[in-house]
Assembly symmetry: C2
DNA sequence: ATTAAGGTGGACAAAAATGTCCGATTGAAA
DNA sequence: TTTCAATCGGACATTTTTGTCCACCTTAAT
């Protein structure tokens, strides 16, 4: 239901959120989150242009969150790379009808609105603390030690 | 958030639901719902294989719903052409961890589940009757007369 | 039987999403 | 000041999605 790009962007900011006041190189993030390095580079550029992260260029540079994790929502991240579009009018191309949607598109838009809200009110900080002793990117019941040392 | 294919499939069955015991030619449905004829033909084939609609071949043939509108849900239609996939496990490719999802994917899967449920419990019949004097595919406050004669 | 209306399915084209590569530029550290 | 690790951004390749075309089969009506 969500594009790869969205998934990547969310993984990346989740990784950044764990240590958000220092820059992290794309390559580190990519290793940590198991995604294609060069594609992530593009995604990070989008996040940067949207103001979700800051880029620090030059040696020892990288990306860091532009704001504290509790100020950034999942929706901001998603909209930065692949905006959720509400259905404003019946997409049948008929001119001149009002703001009403037909029953079908009313349902679709309701679903979209609910999804939007779910992400609007979830901050990155909640990914860090939500279910107790669980890391933001991976469960720990089978401790994947190597994932916790990377960053 | 939803693919064109899903949108097309839903429009098509919404159109069929209005008069569901007779077959309707692909071309009629395509005109009625303003979508590419030949692409709709493919979508209808998917719906047919999935058992959502029946095909009647030969002259005066077409497609009709396989069941009464109150027996068919939006989810059935969606899953027939572009299945909604829940997140079963953390997609980082790590072996051997349990059924827990990390906080991020827990949120994503929650959103997917809610969407799934919204569509699981909405039948095609509800598109016909839901908001009173509104046609399933288009609002009527500016009566689009030509749309009501087509089928 | 012939014809016309209709679905079937394969092949193909176009567009969008995803993924890869690399030279240019930046800035901190040696 | 030179070097090196990093982002920047353009070009390109691949894959998936979307859209088009057409020859063929099926069926009802004439």
């Amino acid at each position: 239901m969500f594009s790869h790009t969205v998934e990547y962007a969310l993984r990346a900011v989740a990784a950044l959120a764990e240590d958000w006041e220092r820059p992290h190189a794309v390559q580190k993030i990519a290793d940590r989150t198991k995604m294609p390095n060069d594609y992530l580079a593009k995604v990070m550029q989008s996040l940067c242009r949207a103001g979700v992260v800051n880029a620090i260029r030059g040696r020892h540079g990288g990306y860091q969150l532009a704001q504290a994790p509790d100020k950034l929502t999942l929706l901001m991240v998603i909209n930065a790379v692949d905006p959720i579009k509400r259905i404003e009018r019946c997409p049948l191309g008929l001119p001149g009808h009002g703001p009403n949607l037909c029953p079908l598109h009313r349902r679709l838009d309701d679903a979209i609105r609910e999804t939007e809200n779910a992400f609007r009110y979830t901050t990155l900080a909640e990914l860090l603390t939500s279910t107790g002793p669980v890391r933001p990117l991976c469960p720990v019941d089978q401790p994947p030690a190597f994932i916790n040392v990377a960053l």
